[in-house]
């Protein structure tokens, strides 16, 4: 996985609450056996009409936001299915940070496995950043993972919390499986004892 670098730039405002994984990447694109190439279908049904033409009002079709690396979203972003195609599509489009008051659990975890930082901030902070993001190219939102801060255009700084292990993996581009494999002795020991006490499993 690529190392997570600080991000600074325009942010796409998506104030709708409960943006679900079916909106992020509709089911017809889950038939792939690859992880790549889903960016073009990110938010497909909101982004394109029935004939495949871009819907001009949709935020990522507007000139200011076509290359946005940050999304500021309404509450409970990523609810619904466990499909990792959702963060794959976001990352393939170029999104590296999503900011919201809350995320669905599975989506939140999936982001970290794919170099995306989901930032949880209080409602007032998300509202302020949403307004800022609405200014298009006149706004510059900066996200610093190391210092755990998001800075608005006017210099207001919002601190955020993130699990230390997840942060470490993201900053260093570490593969979880490789890290767990280093603990294989502990797993072996556990399994041996467990199999003895619960032979039916």
């Amino acid at each position: 996985m690529e190392k997570f670098e600080n991000v600074s730039g325009v942010a796409a405002p998506m104030p709708l609450i409960n943006i679900d994984t079916d909106m992020i990447i509709p089911k017809q694109f889950l038939k792939t056996i690859k992880r790549s190439g889903l960016g073009v279908n990110l938010f497909d049904e909101m982004r394109y009409d029935d004939d495949g033409n871009e819907i001009a009002d949709f935020v990522l079709n507007q000139p200011a936001y076509r290359n946005a690396e940050i999304i500021v979203a309404g509450d409970n972003f990523g609810c619904g299915s466990s499909r990792e195609h959702a963060p794959w599509a976001l990352r393939d489009f170029g999104v590296k940070v999503v900011i919201s008051t809350s995320f669905a659990d599975i989506f939140y975890n999936n982001c970290f496995k794919n170099g995306i930082l989901p930032v949880v901030l209080p409602k007032e902070a998300v509202d302020a950043l949403m307004d800022d993001a609405g200014k298009g190219e006149n706004a510059r939102i900066a996200v610093d993972l190391n210092n755990q801060t998001v800075s608005a255009t006017d210099g207001t700084v919002f601190g955020f919390e993130v699990d230390a292990f997840k942060k470490h993996c993201l900053l260093n581009g570490l593969d979880d499986i490789g890290l767990t494999m280093q603990k294989v002795d502990a797993i072996d020991r556990f399994e041996e004892k467990y199999t003895e006490t619960m032979p039916w499993v």
């Binding site: 079916d22 909106m23 466990s82 767990t180 797993i187």
Partner: protein, 471 residues
């Protein structure tokens, strides 16, 4: 003496394989269920890194999302991408030596129905699958939840998952349900109460008399939609019904192992005085037959209610409801029972079990579906289908005008050819009413199997309590 524990605490502690200084835990996984949509990239990852499946004997695969449910599916899958995905699972199951129920096997079906049916799911286990409705298995007093594809690869390679412990939530349903009210109505009413993010960060334990009185099928329906409330998992302490359901199934323990397992399973309850971070209590008698009107599972009301207005809500929900009503083609103030339906879907991991089919057939007996109605029943597994045929339920469905399908996820998520066209309106026993879920522009109303059957007959959303001929 140690502090009192919840059942979730107990299962967590029993599976903690490693805890790092920063609190990051490795949780040991007892059952890993796999389907064709969220696994190909994980198996590919194993191959590329030269890794193997650590515990193939604990890994069970079945294709369900993409498979056609028409009888002619023996001739193969027409859609090329779907076919490639199913073939990839065939190959991965063979190459890595995991248990497999191919499309041609009578035991094939929706992974969350096959797992319990075959006795893979047992009390006290940790069960994961690259599918959010893995919560279903919580009905057995197992800790079961959905994971992403990277985590699927992690479990395949290590039989563990990196986890942080969730908080404990208790949802108690006191008393009994009134006639016509089902497990589906319980679970939808809870989501209406908590909202779709209300459970975020929690594992829910469902308890109380109304839960105890449910069959195992009903308990699976309740736990299935824990994810729609945002919870990591939902579970129910095992009791005699659980043991009776499990006993004798192909992969359930027997003889001395059974006795040993039973001794352990009987310790799986929440201790007196255990701490819950949140408690929700509902009266069983207050729960009504329910239906969704919007595009989020939290948009749920009793069937005798009216469609709400955006102004009935606050904050971000105001715009969301305005958008929902436009998408759903509904007007505020309209009676829900006046909403006309053109499609009925009975099936899914929420309501595709034998009891669900019995409930729908009981309503349909002696009735015909309305002219022009498209109605289908998709059993949750080949064995559910066979049992329904043996019990004469299939004939009732066919005589009423329903299509009697083969097993799969089907129109719950419309990855196979079973889809809604734009503007079509479906009464569905599935679990999600998101925009486009059952097909682009399709409109979904979630409800119980009995209410879906009644809607197929009347042509509109129908209160099962007043449906002519209802029990």
């Amino acid at each position: 003496m140690s502090a009192p524990k919840t059942i979730y605490d107990k299962i967590w502690d029993a599976h903690l394989a490693h805890e790092a200084d920063d609190g990051t835990c490795l949780l040991y996984i007892d059952r890993h269920l796999v389907h064709e949509v969220t696994s190909p990239q994980a198996f590919e990852g194993l191959r590329m890194s030269g890794r193997t499946v650590r515990a193939p004997e604990k890994t069970i695969a079945v294709p369900d999302h993409n498979v056609p449910t028409t009888l002619d599916r023996v001739n193969g899958i027409e859609n090329e991408e779907s076919r490639i995905q199913v073939e990839a699972l065939d190959k991965n199951a063979k190459d890595f030596g995991i248990h497999y129920y191919p499309v041609s096997d009578v035991r094939q079906g929706i992974v969350h129905i096959v797992g319990p049916e075959q006795g893979w799911t047992l009390p006290g286990m940790t069960v994961v699958c690259g599918d959010s409705h893995t919560a279903t298995h919580g009905a057995f007093g197992a800790l079961a939840h959905g994971i992403g594809t990277s985590e699927v690869e992690h479990v395949l390679a290590t039989q563990t998952l990196i986890q942080k412990k969730s908080k404990n939530m208790k949802v108690e349903i006191t008393g009994s349900l009134r006639p016509g009210v089902t497990a589906k109505d319980i679970t939808m009413t809870i989501i209406g109460e908590t909202g779709t993010a209300g459970g975020t960060g929690y594992v829910i334990e469902y308890c109380g008399q109304a839960i105890e009185e449910l069959s195992m099928e009903g308990r699976m329906t309740v736990c299935n939609m824990a994810i729609e409330g945002g919870a990591r998992a939902g579970l129910i302490a095992p009791d005699q019904k659980t043991y009776d359901y499990v006993k004798g199934r192909p992969h359930a323990p027997s003889d001395a192992d059974w006795d040993k397992a039973m001794t352990y399973w009987k310790t799986l309850f929440t201790d007196e005085g255990a701490h819950f971070d949140m408690v929700i209590t509902l009266k069983g008698e207050d729960i009504a037959p329910s239906v969704t009107w919007g595009t989020s599972p939290e948009d749920v009301l009793p069937i005798d209610a009216i469609v709400p207005a955006p102004s009935d809500f606050e904050g971000g929900k105001v715009d969301a409801v305005a958008r929902s009503l436009e998408y759903m083609g509904l007007e505020a103030g309209q009676k829900l029972t006046d909403v006309a339906i053109d499609t009925v879907f009975i099936g899914s991991c929420t309501n595709g079990r034998i009891e669900d089919l019995r409930a729908a057939a009981a309503v349909l007996k002696g009735h015909k579906i309305k002219d022009g109605m498209r109605a289908m029943v998709v059993p949750g597994s080949g064995l559910v289908r066979a049992q329904a045929e043996e019990e004469g339920l299939a004939n009732i469905f066919i005589e009423a005008g329903f299509e009697w399908r083969m097993a799969g996820c089907s129109m719950c998520l419309a990855m196979n050819p079973d889809q809604l066209a734009p503007g079509e309106r479906c009464a569905a026993t599935s679990n999600r009413n998101f925009e486009g879920r059952q097909g682009r522009g399709g409109r979904t109303h979630l409800l119980s199997p009995a209410m879906a059957a009644a809607a197929a007959v009347t042509g509109h959303l129908t209160d099962i309590r007043t449906f002519e001929g209802a029990a």
